[in-house]
Symmetry: C2
Amino acid sequence: MSEIIDRNNNPGRVSDAMTRRMPAYYRRLLELENLGFLVISSKELARRMGLTDSQIRHDFNAFGGFGRRGRGYNVELLRKAIGDILDINREHNLIIIGIGNMGKALAQYKGFSEHSFKLMALFDANSELVGKRFGGARVYAINGLAKYLQKNPTDIAVICTPAAGAQELVEPLAAGGVKGIWNFAAVDLQAPDSILVNNVHLTDSLMMLAFRMHEKQVLEEDKSWISE
Amino acid sequence: MSEIIDRNNNPGRVSDAMTRRMPAYYRRLLELENLGFLVISSKELARRMGLTDSQIRHDFNAFGGFGRRGRGYNVELLRKAIGDILDINREHNLIIIGIGNMGKALAQYKGFSEHSFKLMALFDANSELVGKRFGGARVYAINGLAKYLQKNPTDIAVICTPAAGAQELVEPLAAGGVKGIWNFAAVDLQAPDSILVNNVHLTDSLMMLAFRMHEKQVLEEDKSWISE
């Protein structure tokens, strides 16, 4: 659903598959911790997450030993370790550019503050929006972006503009020291090495669902055919 | 970023990793086709997509032979084959429940109609929204949902309500014959076997980006240390 293009293709980087599982692990372990779990077996965690027991153990071996054979994993320690890897306690300063429906929805999305992403400012070309507040952050005119970045260190820019307006934002963002772009505009962005881009394709997620629905239907038809 | 929980855990299903790549392949091949490419090598496609040559060839071998060694792949045929697997030409009827910012943003998202997802109706509890139109579809009162589903076969329901209101929608949707839920509410849904749920976690995508940014920084610091 989202691709992160790392043009340096650095060796030593964690695989995409593992990286994708880590936020899910973090989220699930935090839920379990809040429910009062002290210890959990790899088998039980696998069951709850729809993964295999061996996948869980393989991944957690890579993180360093947090379990004892037959004893399961210490939920809190494991959660904290994954949090460290994800650098979850580091605050990331976020801005959103493009305050249409998607921009407004993201500005108000509670999940971000819960995960140390701090919404600092919003930008738009529409002067009628300037001065308004969404999700606690103020809208500034887009032509103030470069000046804002000079004065306010910003880690991540979320782009929610129409496709046509997105690519031209990359250069000022990179020049302003932004290190990551979370891109919801309907065009994949080209970016210099200094800045990582995560192009979000919402349709991919929906297409995956439709594919799974279709596959499920076909497999169930096969089953009923076999049992006749 | 999104998990599809298939409680039947059917054998024969395509791996998640492969499934995740397919919409990206489809999208990229369609772009290339529109740019006038007739043939593309696995190496060139890999380069453009940030994948490895062998990954591409492994995946496309699974789809059946569309290439000739040394000749590359016929772009249009391959794109159509993947489209068939994704069942991309089948129209899926969609409804959206919860017409806040996210619901409105999704209603107007052009990518859906481009991929044969047809937005049929919107539902909300707020009577002031009833009768309004977004993305060409009309808002109905949520208490009309069951009756609507009786008369209008619906494939996928997109849930964009607050977390508290989401779980109670599953039963009427399942009873109404809906086969898939695309869930943006901030709570994972429990569902019967008849209905697949894709729980979207936007924070996962953002956390992946932050992790990659952090990793890149660490690897670059390592490199500069080594070269001193």
